[in-house]
Symmetry: C2
C-alpha cells in the first residue's frame, strides 16, 4: 500500500495510455475508476490534468455504443480525415499555379505518394497528375478552376 501512495505521475500516465488503448473509455470519471482498480489513488481532477498534459483527445464514436465519446491518443485523431488531407498535411511544402497547371512541391521522395493520394481522391476537376521525386504536376480541366483547386490544397495543408 505504501507503493500505491507513492506512485509517480509518469507511471500513472503510462497506465492511462494503456487503458485507453485497451478499450473505449467514455469519461474521466470512468478512467479514474479504472485507475483505482489498478491501485492508483486518483480523482477526476487529476485525471483531467493528466489528459491535458498527455494531449489526449475526446472523439465522437461513430456507432453510439455505450457513451457517445471516447478518449484517444493524438495520433489516432487524423484517422478521422481523408487520406488526401493527411498526406497533404504531411508532405506538401508549396503550391503554385499557372493556367491549368498546379505545381506542388513536396519533401524529397514523397511526390509519388502525394500524386497517388490525389488520384485516389477522384476530384472531377483534375484531369491527372505526374509525380516525380519532390514535385507533383497537377493538370486541371480548365484554367478558370485552377485557383480554387490550388486553394483546396493550401486549405488542407493548414496554417504552418
Amino acid at each position: 500500500m505504501n507503493e500505491t501512495l507513492q506512485q509517480p505521475k509518469t507511471k500513472r500516465q503510462r497506465a492511462i495510455l494503456s487503458l485507453i488503448a485497451a478499450r473505449p473509455v467514455h469519461s474521466q470519471d470512468e478512467l479514474a475508476g479504472m485507475l483505482e482498480q489498478q491501485g492508483y489513488e486518483v480523482t477526476q481532477a487529476t485525471v483531467s490534468r493528466d489528459i491535458k498534459e498527455l494531449g489526449l483527445l475526446k472523439v465522437p464514436l461513430k456507432g453510439g455504443s455505450g457513451g457517445a465519446f471516447k478518449y484517444v491518443e493524438p495520433s489516432v485523431g487524423p484517422a478521422f480525415t481523408s487520406r488526401l488531407h493527411r498526406v497533404v498535411a504531411e508532405v506538401m511544402i508549396q503550391a503554385r499555379s499557372s493556367m491549368n497547371q498546379i505545381v506542388l512541391r513536396t519533401h524529397p521522395g514523397t511526390a509519388m505518394m502525394l500524386a497517388a493520394a490525389i488520384d485516389g481522391a477522384n476530384w472531377p476537376e483534375i484531369l491527372g497528375t505526374i509525380g516525380g521525386d519532390d514535385t507533383v504536376l497537377v493538370i486541371v480541366e480548365a484554367p478558370g478552376k485552377t485557383t480554387m483547386i490550388k486553394q483546396r490544397f493550401e486549405d488542407m495543408r493548414g496554417e504552418q
Copy 2:
C-alpha cells in the same frame, strides 16, 4: 433577415470550419457568438451537435493565451506526434523480422519516405535502413533487440 432564418446546416458548418481556422476558438459559447455575428441564429446546443458531426477536436493550448483550449479540425492533430509515428501510421502495412533484420512493407512508392523518417528518428538500436519502392529493410544492432524494435513499429501503427 429571411435569409438568416433559412440558413442551411451545411453552410453553417462550413462557416464553423472557417472561423476556427482563422483564430483560436476556446469554447462552444464563443463559437456560437461568432456565428451570431455572421448572421446565423444558433445556440450552444446546436454548436455542440455541429462539432460532434464535424468531428472537431478540443485540444490544449501550449501557451496559456486566453482560454486553455481551442477547437481544431482532426487533420491538425499530426502536430502533436512525432514524424515517424505519423508516417508509420500512414504507410506501413506489415513488419516482419529475422535475426537482426526487420522488413517493413509499405504502400507502393512510399518506402523511401518511411526510411527517411526512421533515419530521422535516430534510434540508437538501428544501424541503418534501405528503402525501395514498397519495402524498407531495417538493420538492428543485435538480434536480441529485433523483436522489441519490431514491436515499436507495430505499436505506432496502432490497431487497424
